[in-house]
């Protein structure tokens, strides 16, 4: 049952992304939004955790990147940028949703 996990806090503030990745099974997806977007910045320590999670699909909410002045050119490879419409599609496209707060 592929689950959609969402993470909305910065990996540098809270352990939510770590905890999420500790529990997300292969085949599931993770959407980073709100302050969670900071995890996808190339060169940031959190990015390596994302790159190491091979069986998981990663998404980041574009509007939250833009709001924070992070250009999509700074997003690591393998992370798909989506908008709110894409967020909705992720929710309906997975069997269940878990928010890591």
């Amino acid at each position: 049952m592929p689950m959609l996990h969402t993470v909305n806090k910065s990996p540098y503030e809270r352990n939510s992304l770590d905890s999420c990745l500790n529990h997300a099974r292969d085949g599931s997806s993770v959407l980073l939004f709100e302050d969670g977007i900071y995890a996808v910045i190339r060169g940031g320590k959190a990015a390596s955790g994302i790159q190491a999670a091979k069986g998981i699909s990663f998404y980041v909410l574009g509007p939250d990147l833009q709001a924070r002045g992070i250009g999509t050119d700074r997003v690591i490879e393998g992370v798909t940028v989506v908008d709110y419409s894409g967020f909705v599609d992720l929710v309906t496209g997975h069997d269940n949703v878990q928010s890591w707060l």
Binding site: N8, E34, Y84, V88, V91, T92, V97, S99
Partner: protein, 130 residues
């Protein structure tokens, strides 16, 4: 699809209510049904009509009220959390001897059962919190 949304934080303090609002709006635009938006913890504070935020920024409560009116949304504020934080409708105010009520248009106060029911009836429930 039939979706439900839970908002755990108050307006402005966290981005939760904004994110939930944008998500809800996008879902409705795509033709999905949002069967309920349930406000819990400090999220009940989204339902007070006495906020007067600065004019040059969004009015979170009014945005929810307007969206609810446009799409006939069920915005539910949890009674237990609301009592703790002082969000009352006319009945609650009368019952507790308060001089006034403050529930905003389009919101209604009800029990936690409404959240569980939303979880049962909706195909997906998304939680926005901190």
């Amino acid at each position: 699809m039939k979706l439900a949304v839970m908002v755990n934080e108050g307006p402005y303090q966290h981005q939760s209510s904004d994110s939930a609002y944008q998500f809800t709006k996008a879902a409705l635009e795509k033709g999905h049904e949002i069967m309920r938006v349930f406000f819990y913890h400090d999220g009940v504070n989204n339902g007070t009509r006495y906020a007067v935020p600065p004019q040059d920024d969004r009015n979170i409560t009014q945005q929810w009220s307007a969206l609810a009116k446009q799409h006939d949304l069920d915005l539910v504020v949890c009674v237990a959390a609301a009592q703790r934080r002082g969000v009352l409708d006319a009945d609650e105010a009368k019952r507790h001897g308060k001089s006034g009520d403050n529930i905003a248009e389009g919101f209604r106060i009800s029990g936690l059962g409404q959240l569980i029911e939303a979880g049962i009836q909706a195909e997906r429930l998304v939680v926005f919190g901190d």
